[in-house]
């Protein structure tokens, strides 16, 4: 993998989470999450399963509600106003563990749907943009196929292209490689690295520590709904501070 540029980050804040708490019924899933992400910053969130890392990033585009605290995305504070939430979601792309492509639409239609219906782009223009991004994820030849005809890695790359077609300012990745066979993980990670090279603001929940080392500006470790530790990747992997982080790293790196 190539080393993404490490030019100095701008000071502009893209995401600010302040004292965010969330409960599922009586279960306290997120406890006092504080996180600031600047423009162009790339963050990897890791932690054992059930630690609340997916829930945390799903709060950013309000796929999950939270009960206390505030989240500001690109200058707009998340509220329960539906129109405003839709507005924010246009600017925040998301890639899911299980791809969630629309199986009744072709790859090209998957990519043009939101640009034409949400951004109101003319069809030709939306198709041009879609083809450009399909070329970037290296599967333009699959444009006419249905998702069910593609491999898992190809589907995930289409899902990334689909998000990019909305020209988002932020990309969220929710365990994008966890449902893939090993040989397909590489092609998806490569796609994500090229995104990083272009200066996309990214938050990525993943267990791919190699990806974290080469791409992330910061690594965040969550456990039990809390942020336990956050640091630059170099420091994070060589000098983990807390015992829980050390335990987690020893488990994940020895596999």
């Amino acid at each position: 993998m190539n080393e993404p540029s490490s030019a100095p980050l701008s000071e502009q804040e893209m995401i600010r989470m302040e004292k965010v708490h969330k409960w599922y019924g009586t279960f306290h899933v997120l406890k006092d999450i504080n996180l600031t992400v600047r423009k162009g910053e790339r963050i990897v969130v890791c932690g054992p399963s059930g630690s609340g890392k997916s829930t945390a990033i799903r709060c950013i585009n309000r796929l999950e509600e939270f009960q206390r605290g505030r989240i500001v995305v690109d200058g707009q504070e998340l509220s329960s106003d539906v129109k405003q939430v839709e507005q924010i979601r246009r600017e925040v792309g998301m890639v899911f563990q299980h791809f969630n492509l629309f199986p009744h639409l072709t790859v090209l239609e998957n990519c043009t749907l939101a640009p034409t219906w949400v951004r109101k782009l003319p069809r030709r223009q939306a198709e041009d943009i879609a083809m450009r991004y399909l070329e970037r994820v290296k599967i333009p030849e699959q444009a006419g196929k249905y998702p069910g005809q593609l491999s898992g890695g190809q589907q995930q790359r289409v899902a990334i292209a689909r998000s990019l077609c909305m020209n988002p300012k932020i990309m969220l990745f929710d365990e994008p490689t966890s449902a893939l066979d090993p040989e397909m993980i590489k092609e998806v990670l490569e796609t994500m690295v090229t995104l990083a090279e272009d200066g996309m603001t990214m938050i990525c929940v993943t267990h791919e520590m190699g990806f974290a080392k080469t791409v992330a500006h910061r690594v965040i470790f969550m456990d039990g709904g809390e942020i336990i530790e956050e640091n630059e990747p170099e420091e994070f992997f060589t000098h983990p501070q807390s015992d829980r982080t050390k335990l987690f790293l020893s488990q994940i790196l020895h596999n």
């Binding site: 539906v82 629309f102 009744h104 899902a159 998000s163």
Partner: protein, 368 residues
């Protein structure tokens, strides 16, 4: 089965392929199976030849009165021939029947593009929606008259297969969208809408269609102010539509529940609102899944139209029944009902075949 070495591909044993193999596998594979085959053959031998004799070989086809049938022992299809026009049009005035034929021709011409394979799906949807909006108005104007110098034909004179098709057609085209809305409403996050839709569905599903029709025709006028009178056919149409939309809603809801949560989330993450998510992502998948259920409801609806005889409308069933009580043709009810059954079967079977074809064509090979 013989076990051949796998080193070389050999032709399969003769007893497992071809017609002989089929017979062996399906009819004579075990002593029990052989017994069943023999029993079934005997039953067919007992029933099929007499039926063939009655319906075809000994039947009378030509003539114009019951006397023509006296000589033969079989079915008297003359009865159907003589009454055929009435079975098709009911009491629609003979001189005006060209209007019904014109409407039918327009429907065939209008719907033909939908069956052209080369036409893109998007265009088909638009064409279909346009047809759905315009055709009922045109057809109603032709049937009822009153405009462009057409004589008015009161709805009480509409009958036969024409009336059956009108009730079924209106019922289907109105019950499907209404059912979709009810299904969405029942899954709504808004408690008031959810409660209303649930109550509506359970109320209509909980009563027999006969009760609905009976109430619409006998009870409703009691509650309306004097002088206000709904058309009897209109009341039947509303009754059938609301009744079937409740069933349709539950069929569609089954499809909605089968759509994975990830689809809703992916749509939401792209900034699609509720209606766009439903119209573009969820409903196309959900409706495709429940095509068999939708067609099942359509078929039930088609056959249930025969219940309008309870409120004195002369649909195909009632008009056939009416003809069998004609003193000139007493004793031919078997032929009449066999004919009616054949017509109902033809329509229902066509719908079934069309739905299978549709399912095959809409399959996009999504494995999850």
């Amino acid at each position: 089965m013989t076990e051949a070495p796998l080193s070389r591909a050999e032709p399969p044993p003769a007893s497992t392929i071809g017609a002989f193999g089929w017979l062996h596998r399906n009819l004579f594979s075990s002593p029990f199976n052989i017994a069943l085959t023999l029993l079934a053959s005997y039953l067919l031998y007992l029933t099929i030849p007499p039926l063939l004799h009655w319906a075809l070989l000994d039947a009378t086809w030509n003539g114009d009165s019951r006397e023509a049938c006296q000589a033969n022992g079989g079915a008297c299809w003359v009865f159907i021939r003589v009454n055929f026009e009435q079975f098709m049009y009911g009491f629609y005035p003979e001189a005006q029947r060209w209007r019904v034929n014109t409407a039918l021709l327009l429907l065939i011409l209008g719907a033909a593009p939908l069956f052209v394979r080369a036409m893109p799906n998007k265009l088909k949807v638009r064409w279909g929606l346009g047809l759905l909006l315009i055709y009922p108005l045109v057809a109603f104007m032709l049937f009822k008259g009153g405009l462009f110098g057409l004589r008015i034909v009161d709805t009480s004179r509409w009958g036969g297969l024409l009336l059956t098709l009108i009730i079924a057609g209106v019922g289907m085209t109105a019950a499907l969208p209404l059912g979709v809305l009810l299904a969405l409403g029942r899954r709504s996050q808004m408690p008031a809408i959810q409660a209303l839709c649930t109550i509506f569905i359970e109320l209509w599903r909980g009563v027999p269609l006969i009760t609905v029709l009976f109430m619409s025709s006998v009870m409703l006028p009691l509650f309306l102010p004097a002088g206000v009178n709904f058309d009897k056919l209109l009341r039947a149409l509303i009754g059938v539509t609301l009744f079937q939309s409740a069933y349709m809603a539950e069929v569609v809801r089954g499809g909605l529940q089968a759509i994975p949560k990830g689809q809703f989330e992916a749509a939401a993450a792209l900034g699609l609102g509720y209606w766009k998510t439903m119209a573009l992502i969820v409903l196309p998948q959900a409706l495709k899944l429940v095509i068999p259920g939708i067609v099942n409801t359509f078929i039930a609806l088609f056959k249930d139209t025969s219940l309008v005889l309870i409120i004195g409308l002369f649909d195909l069933m009632n008009i056939v029944h009416n003809a069998t009580t004609n003193p000139a043709w007493l004793g031919f009810s078997t032929e009449g009902y066999a004919f009616a059954a054949a017509v109902y079967w033809l329509f229902c079977f066509s719908m079934s075949r069309y739905s299978q074809n549709l399912e095959k064509r809409l399959y996009t090979g999504h494995k999850r």
